[in-house]
Structure formats: C-alpha cells, structure tokens
C-alpha cells in the first residue's frame, strides 16, 4: 500500500500504579518497588495487549510496534522479541516492528542477530529491526552498562549484527568490545540482504548522523509530541542534508499519542484519565537516573544545554507532570474527531517530513474497550485519509513481505 505508513505502537504499561504513586514512590524506573506488581495483573495485561496488537492489524494498521525497557513500570517488555514472536505468529500482513534491541547490552550482540533472524523467519519477511542505544535508565542503571563506552559499544554491536546477517562465510570479529573467533549465525534472515534497520532516537546528534550516513530510518520516540519533536526532526533532516542524501520522508518515523472519538468534546472527556495516568504517574522518574556521565556525547550535552524547548518539557515533567490542557496545548497528545485528528496528523507528517507515523492509541491505564474503540475509529475513519500523503515517494525501509 502506498502513502504514509501508520503503525500501532504498544508500550505495554503496568495499568495499576496507585493514585498517589508520585507522592509515595521515587521513580517509575530502576528502583521501582516490586511490591507494586501483581502477577495476575501483568499476565492479564499481556493477553489483552497482544490481542490489541492483533486487532490493530485487522483495523488496517501497516505495522505493529513493540519495544524494550528494563525495571520499568510503563513498559513491561524487557524482551520485546518474546512479544514480537507471538505477534508474528498471530498476524499475517502487518510489519512486525521491534524498536528494538539495545545491542550494547548483549554479549555477544550476535544473539541479537540470531533472534532478529528468527523473527524475520517467523513473520515470513515482515520484520523491522530496531537498534536503540537504550535509555540511560535501561542501560547504565538497570543493566549496569558503563555509560562512558556504551555508545561506542553500541556502534560496534550494530556492525557485528549487520555482518552476521550478510557475510556468507564464517568470519572472525575483532572489535574493541566483542571478540569472537567464529561468527556464522543460523538461521539467516528471510529478507535480503537484511531486514530494514530503524534507529529509535531521542535527539542525540550522533544518532542523526548515524542514520543519515548509513541509510537507517530515524524513529523519533519522544513522548512529548510533535511540537517538541520538531527540534529533533529538524536536527535529523539537517544531518541528512550534510550527508548528501535525499530527504525522502520514509527515512523518518515519529511517535505520537492519539485519541479519536466521535466528537472533539467526547475525545476530551475520554482520554483525559489515561493521559494523566501516563504523564503524571508513568513518567514520574527520579532525575538522578537521567544523566549518567558519558551517556550523552559532548556534542549532545552542548546541544541540550542550548535547547529551551527541551528544558521546558523537562521542567514541567519534574514539577508534577503536565495538566491535561497543557498536554493538548503542547501537542503531547492529539485528540479529537476523526476529521480533527486526520488534519492534525497530516500536519505533523508534512511539517516533520515523516513517512512512518507511529501512533500510541493505548496509553496509561486506558481500558481495553477504549483502546479498541480508538483503534477502530482510527483505522476506519482516520487512516484512509492519510494514505495520500507521500504517495509520490518510495519506502525503501519497509519489510519485503509486509503490506
């Protein structure tokens, strides 16, 4: 199918953090109290969330996204590959988008090459393979990775995975961090030369350059919507220009919270609670886990210091989280009738020059009923109206056998 690709993204949050979570607990990440976990709630949530992903395919979404977080109360997928394997088995047309595996956390990263190959085969060539650096909380704190060498290890890990997928003969890999005498993975991916590589990013200069230079998709995964995200996307497109590449919108993906209802007023009423749950409870994390020395490069530190847009978002988050009206004014969440949402998303796609729209239609503690209503309304009344966007461009970063 031509036109902008619309993807359904699941974070798989824990849906029963207490109302006074912000007051009683320090962080939703890293040192989150395991006493809050009810195994029955998690097990039921997994079943519901997987069903929602399968339902999204039936509603016409082009791709289904899962991602990796550790020690985290809003992301119950330490291993997104487990979830992706189920999604691959229960669907037949949508792209299976794993965003992704933090390759620097796996020793050797060959394991990532192997599991992605398995997923590509299980989905019969529908895999998008994402390689995030991983957040500071996931990598430096929850996994103890040295932030001073994390990024270099990450780049090396991607190189190893790509070689493992594509080199026909057994080879030796002698990296700075990984040394392996025999690399020769079985099985190999179905897609040739390899599945599309997307790089989830949060705005680092190095990630923009990596994507631009190596023709990877830059998938901006900010939770702060299109207005904050514009800064990151502008940085990416500048990197594309520096690299002398064409500004094909399919080089980029962008994540956006979305809530659709029959009317704007109804949407305002319906999505207030789950949005407040996410931005006021799920995003309550301790500032001491945000900035391990070395996680950001020198250039990115300098850029962040100069970014007033980012600073404003972080300040609001630290001071109790945004109000519902602030979320809407700042574009964190796009809500409304199908026409309203379609118009806003078209504006997002065109303003940011993005060919892959990743939508979060379940967020926070949203009920299954509302998530399905949101998904169905979007699929039937919003998605078709977006399909003219970018139909003049070719998506070179889409799985061979996905719709």
């Amino acid at each position: 199918m031509v036109g902008v690709k619309v993807l359904w993204f699941h974070l798989m949050p824990y849906p029963q953090l207490p109302e006074d979570f912000r007051e009683r607990y320090r962080s939703v990440w890293v040192d989150l109290d395991a006493g809050l976990l009810d195994p029955e709630v998690v097990a039921s949530s997994y079943e519901t969330y997987l069903d929602q992903l399968v339902f999204a395919e039936a509603c016409g979404f082009d791709g289904l996204c899962v991602n990796e977080h550790h020690s985290n109360g809003y992301g119950l997928m330490p291993s997104p590959n487990l979830m992706a394997s189920i999604v691959a088995n229960r669907t037949s047309r949508a792209a299976v988008v794993v965003l992704g595996n933090s390759v620097a956390l796996y020793d050797p990263p060959t394991r990532v090459a192997e599991e992605m190959s398995m997923l590509d085969l299980l989905s019969r060539g529908r895999l998008v393979s994402g390689f995030p650096v991983g957040t500071a909380m996931d990598t430096a704190y929850a996994y103890g990775a040295n932030p001073g060498t994390l990024r270099a290890k990450y780049y090396e890990g991607i190189d190893l995975v790509l070689q493992a997928w594509t080199r026909p003969e057994p080879f030796a890999f002698n990296g700075r961090f990984t040394k392996q005498r025999w690399v020769n993975i079985w099985p190999r991916p179905m897609q040739q030369p390899h599945p599309p590589v997307w790089i989830p990013g949060g705005g680092s200069v190095e990630t923009w350059d990596l994507c631009a230079e190596r023709d990877f998709v830059y998938a901006a995964l900010s939770y702060y919507g299109h207005l904050v995200g514009k800064e990151a996307m502008d940085g990416f497109w500048e990197a594309v220009e520096r690299a002398g590449k064409d500004p094909n919108p399919y080089r980029a993906g962008f994540l956006q919270f979305v809530g659709v209802a029959d009317t704007d007023a109804e949407a305002y009423r319906l999505y207030k609670e789950p949005a407040e749950y996410f931005f006021q409870r799920s995003l309550h994390f301790y500032p001491g886990f945000v900035d391990p020395p070395g996680y950001s490069s020198e250039a990115s530190v300098r850029r962040k210091l100069q970014s007033s847009v980012r600073a404003a978002a972080m300040t609001t988050q630290a001071s109790g989280g945004p109000t519902w009206d602030e979320m809407l004014e700042r574009g964190y969440v796009i809500i409304g009738s199908p026409d309203t949402v379609r118009e806003k998303l078209e504006d997002v796609a065109r303003t940011l020059n993005v060919g892959h729209l990743m939508t979060l239609l379940h967020f926070g503690n949203m009920s299954d009923e509302l998530a399905r209503q949101n998904t169905e309304l979007f699929g039937t009344k919003v998605l078709p109206g977006l399909k003219d966007i970018w139909s003049e461009h070719t998506d070179h970063w889409w799985p061979t056998n996905a719709r």
Partner: protein
C-alpha cells in the same frame, strides 16, 4: 616534618577531579613537597575526550601519565578513584612507588556496605554527598571561566572520566591483588563517607578513621589528614 629538598610526590585526584591543591595537600607543599599531577585523560575537562575501552586501557593511560611526569620512584597519594589507581600502580609498577597513601580508595566493593551510588544523584547535586562539611567553592567554580555553556560541558567530561573508572559498583578486583603491594602504605578513611562507607576499609588492611570527614576527607578534615600524611611520609 619538612620534606627533603627536591622531594616530590605524585597525586591522583578523586571523583570530583582536581580543582587545585586541597588544604591537606597545600600543607605538604608548605613543608617543601612538590606535587606532580599525572595528566589522566578526561580529568582536565578538555574537549574531545575519548573513554578508554576498559580498565586495562585506563591503567595504560595512568602508566603513561606517571612516566610523563618524569618523577619517581616517589610517594604516591591517591584519593577516591585516584586511590584505586594509585593502588594498582603500586601493584603493577612497584618500582615507581616508594610509599603509598590511599584516601578512601575505590576498587573493592563490599556488598554489606554499598554506600550510595554517586551517579544516581541529580546532576546539580552530585558534589554534595562527597563532602561532610559542605562543598568547597573551588569545586563549583573550577570551570566558571569557560562560560555558561562550556563550564557544564567540562564538568560533564571530568565526570565521564571518573565515572567510567568505577562504573557500575567501583570494584576493579583489587581485593585479589593488594597483597602484591610491597611498599609501606597509609590508608585513611572518613568516618562519614557516604560513597565508600568506612565499613569497606577493613578490606584494605590496617587503616585510620578520620572523624567528621566524608568521602573526600582531605577537604573535610585537612589538618588531621595532613598530620597523618606528614607522619607517614616523614618516616
């Protein structure tokens, strides 16, 4: 006791870097000691720092930096993360170290006394738990001359260097090799150290506890630390 003319010691700084001589070190300088400061990568806050791949890379950088000072064999004073490096210098390069002073060194992690994670503290407050008697102003103003943007960048770069040496728990296996230190050593520890609690000190053998001092004890209790070092170095 005054130093002999021309006597030099090597100093390796702690977590917060080296903003200039601590009052304890200044007291030794007043006695006639010359303090040599090996230039370890990153600790100067200069642009372009690239983290060594691993701890052996750091030790190699240390040995190169020590040799570049052109001094030695001589006493080596190491604080905090610098104490860990000083101990390994004495382990692997015994000919370079005549006496060893360790001020609350990293290098051995005691699960019974884990302390706080110095990097699980909001960036703007990271200096505070290093001291028992308040953060000396010189640490806050070290890079101020570089301006509002570049000063925090330089601070960040020095943090990368120190953090990468001890990430994630500050254990580099010293417990398995400190028996190879053959030179005389003095181990001092702050009684109120929140970062490497004093309960860890026993793993380093004989030691002295300095009351009223936190992790960077040479800043918290300079008179007591200087007195102990004078006594030890003057033997």
């Amino acid at each position: 006791m005054p130093a002999e003319p021309g006597q030099t010691l090597i100093y390796l700084p702690g977590l917060a870097g080296d903003p200039g001589s601590s009052p304890a070190l200044a007291a030794l300088e007043a006695d006639g000691w010359t303090v040599a400061r090996p230039q370890l990568p990153g600790f100067d806050g200069e642009s372009g720092f690239r983290c060594p791949d691993d701890y052996l890379g750091w030790l190699t950088a240390l040995w190169d930096a020590v040799d570049a000072t052109g001094v030695g064999p001589c006493p080596v004073v190491g604080a905090s993360v610098g104490g860990m490096l000083a101990a390994d210098l004495a382990v692997f390069r015994p000919e370079a170290v005549s006496r060893l002073v360790l001020l609350a060194p990293f290098g051995i992690f005691d699960a019974d006394h884990p302390g706080i994670d110095p990097y699980a503290v909001p960036t703007a407050k990271r200096l505070e738990p290093l001291f028992e008697r308040g953060v000396p102003e010189v640490f806050r103003t070290r890079f101020a001359h570089k301006g509002d943007t570049e000063a925090p960048v330089s601070r960040y770069l020095t943090d990368i260097a120190a953090a990468s040496l001890i990430w994630p728990v500050g254990d580099r296996g010293l417990a398995h090799r400190i028996h190879r230190i053959t030179c005389p050593r003095l181990v001092l520890w702050g009684a109120a150290d929140q970062i490497v609690p004093v309960g860890t000190a026993a793993a380093w053998g004989e030691h002295q506890v300095i009351e009223g001092a936190g992790h960077l004890l040479e800043w918290d209790q300079p008179e007591a630390v200087a007195a102990a070092m004078r006594s030890f170095l003057g033997r």
